[in-house]
């Protein structure tokens, strides 16, 4: 839930170039080798890591914003800095999500309110852009996942 003050804050990505900043159309930003088609997240722009490809050119691509849970866990203890935790600390879930088309697995936090009890391996999840943390004048955004068929309350 965002406070009145929170609504007034500038919303900025916690890291540049990793995901869309348009919150109504969330996606991860990857890169694709123009020669062999290997996909990278976060973006690779220097050299293709496929040992049989020496390409150094890439195009930016949007990754699928839905995938299947490969595995999941949570953080019951507060992670050390640079993680910025809310006070008091609230446990959060983490998922490893298989993107079928990209043939890769990507990690992300799960939206607030969803616990490991709500998750299953193989479950379909979708990407969303959500608050990572806030300071006095900014809200820092990050990508997160949530169950596609989750309760409506979790889908805003």
């Amino acid at each position: 839930m965002l406070s009145q003050v929170g609504l007034a804050k500038i919303r900025v990505p916690a890291v540049e170039g990793w995901f869309s900043i348009d919150e109504s159309e969330p996606y991860l930003l990857g890169s694709k080798c123009t020669k062999c088609g290997t996909i990278y997240f976060p973006q690779e722009g220097t050299f293709c890591k496929n040992p049989r490809c020496r390409s150094e050119t890439f195009e930016q691509v949007r990754l699928s914003n839905r995938g299947k849970i490969w595995s999941y866990t949570d953080a019951q203890y507060q992670p050390p800095p640079p993680y910025v935790a809310v006070d008091p600390f609230e446990p959060f879930a983490i998922v490893a999500v298989e993107l079928i088309q990209e043939k890769l697995i990507v990690l992300g936090q799960v939206v607030r309110g969803v616990t490991v009890d709500d998750l299953r391996v193989g479950m379909e999840v979708e990407l969303t852009i959500d608050t990572l943390y806030e300071d006095e004048d900014k809200v820092y955004l990050v990508w997160k996942f949530r169950p596609v068929n989750g309760p409506e309350t979790l889908r805003r």
Binding site: A14, V15, C33, C36, G37, T38, I39, Y40, F41, P42, C48, K49, N50, P51, R52, C53, W70, S71, Y72, T73, D74, A75, Q76, Y77, P79, P80, P81, P82, Y83, V84, A85, F92, I94, A96, Q101, E102, K103, L104, I105, V106, L107, G108, Q109, V116, R120, V121, G122, L132, V142
Partner: protein, 400 residues
């Protein structure tokens, strides 16, 4: 490759693992002197010193080889320092072996030591936006146990492993380590105690995740000729194979500290293979043996569940059958192929640059027949397996 490329282990030395709060050099020195005494040699006999680095101890940690050389007393000995995260010790051993096999020296000291902070391992300080290890904490709060827990949950979903199975690993290792004077935790625990300890990262509990420890281990290694010429009070154990492999692209298992796996979607990429499967294989191939020849193993049980992955990765059983191997008692001392007879990380905790070396120390102790209460009867061949952050494989095959 085994015969001509083997080197001998003349001495082993350790500093007890614990939370001592002193400088890592002190622990390393104790381990080095222990290994030298065990070998019946003095520091001035050593022709090469191979240090396994730690990154948490500032400048002297980055140049562990020279730091220990100075602590032992400068005597012109040639030096090497290497960093490969948890695999640093195996790389330091591989470096010493290469020097010996190339005929550049006859006898070398391999050494690793660490002093660790309390709690979760955290990334190197400062705002490091180009460092995935920094970024995974910043953007996801993904600690090391979070990754271990992803593997554990995956086993439960794929193979039907239970939280009780994972707890049983801890129970076994706590028994194994009871009489090990170098282990930090020497207390037997029950399944109930494990299951009721606080959850850290679901499904893993506090007692199932390895602690961060202070500790040190060292080896004196030599050419076969040197070993023969100098004799030894100990039964000779040889290093028959060392693996320091890196992954093969595409690596499709999510690894610390990454945000994603490699993509297998590119044209002409190989079929995905498991990095952890390739680690011991490299050492088996060098030694000319297979998993069926192994009498005991020390594997990197960063978590209880991860030990079960290793059973499969090093070929002790088929994929998915790790929990059965454990339940059947095969990996307990007295079973077919005991695993982590030292007590493993479960009893030691992690002292990163020393970890691959202390695994070797345990196998050497067992192959010499010096393991007393935890002795594996008739052990002739042992293997270690470990994996360092950023794609460092580590495995050593030791034979009597």
């Amino acid at each position: 490759m085994a015969g001509s490329s083997a080197i001998a282990i003349l001495g082993i030395g350790m500093h007890p693992w614990g939370k001592w709060g002193r400088n890592f050099v002190e622990y390393g020195l104790a381990a080095a002197n222990g290994a030298l005494d065990d070998a019946g040699l003095s520091w001035t006999d050593i022709e090469f010193i191979s240090g396994a680095d730690t990154i948490r101890n500032g400048y002297p940690g980055f140049i562990a080889g020279a730091t220990f050389a100075q602590a032992l007393g400068w005597n012109g000995t040639r030096v090497s320092s290497c960093y490969a995260a948890c695999a640093s010790g195996a790389q330091a051993l591989a470096t010493a072996r290469a020097q010996i096999l190339a005929g550049l020296c006859d006898v070398a000291l391999v050494i690793g030591a660490d002093t660790t902070p309390k709690g979760f391992f955290a990334p190197v300080g400062g705002e490091r936006r180009d460092d995935p290890d920094w970024l995974r904490f910043y953007l996801m709060g993904a600690t090391n146990p979070a990754y271990f827990a992803l593997y554990a949950r995956r086993r439960m979903a794929l193979y039907g492993d239970t939280e009780r199975d994972f707890a049983l690993v801890k129970v076994k290792n706590s028994r194994h380590g009871l009489s090990n004077q170098f282990a930090r935790y020497r207390k037997e625990v029950t399944v109930e105690e494990v299951l009721s300890s606080p959850k850290v990262c679901d499904p893993l509990k506090l007692l199932e995740i390895c602690a961060t420890s202070d500790g040190a281990a060292a080896l004196v290694v030599a050419s076969e000729e040197f070993a023969k010429a100098h004799g030894s009070k100990n039964r000779l154990v040889r290093v028959a194979g060392i693996s320091t492999v890196t992954p093969i692209f595409p690596n499709t298992i999510i690894e610390m500290p990454n945000f994603s796996t490699d993509s297998a979607a590119g044209q002409g990429v190989l079929e995905a293979t498991s990095f952890r499967d390739s680690i011991a294989n490299g050492a088996y191939e060098e030694a000319g043996i297979g998993p069926q020849d192994v009498d005991l193993a020390e594997v990197y049980d960063l978590s209880s569940a991860l030990e079960l992955d290793w059973y499969e990765n090093i070929g002790l059983c088929k994929q998915g059958e790790g929990a059965k191997l454990l339940r059947d008692g095969d990996t307990t001392i007295g079973g077919k192929v005991p695993v982590n007879t030292s007590g493993g990380l479960s009893c030691f905790g992690e002292a990163i640059p020393a970890q691959a070396i202390v695994q070797v120390c345990e196998i050497v102790t067992q192959l010499r027949g010096d393991a007393k209460d935890r002795q594996v009867t008739g052990a002739k061949v042992g293997v270690t397996a470990n994996q360092g952050l950023f794609g460092h494989g580590s495995s050593v095959v030791l034979v009597k």
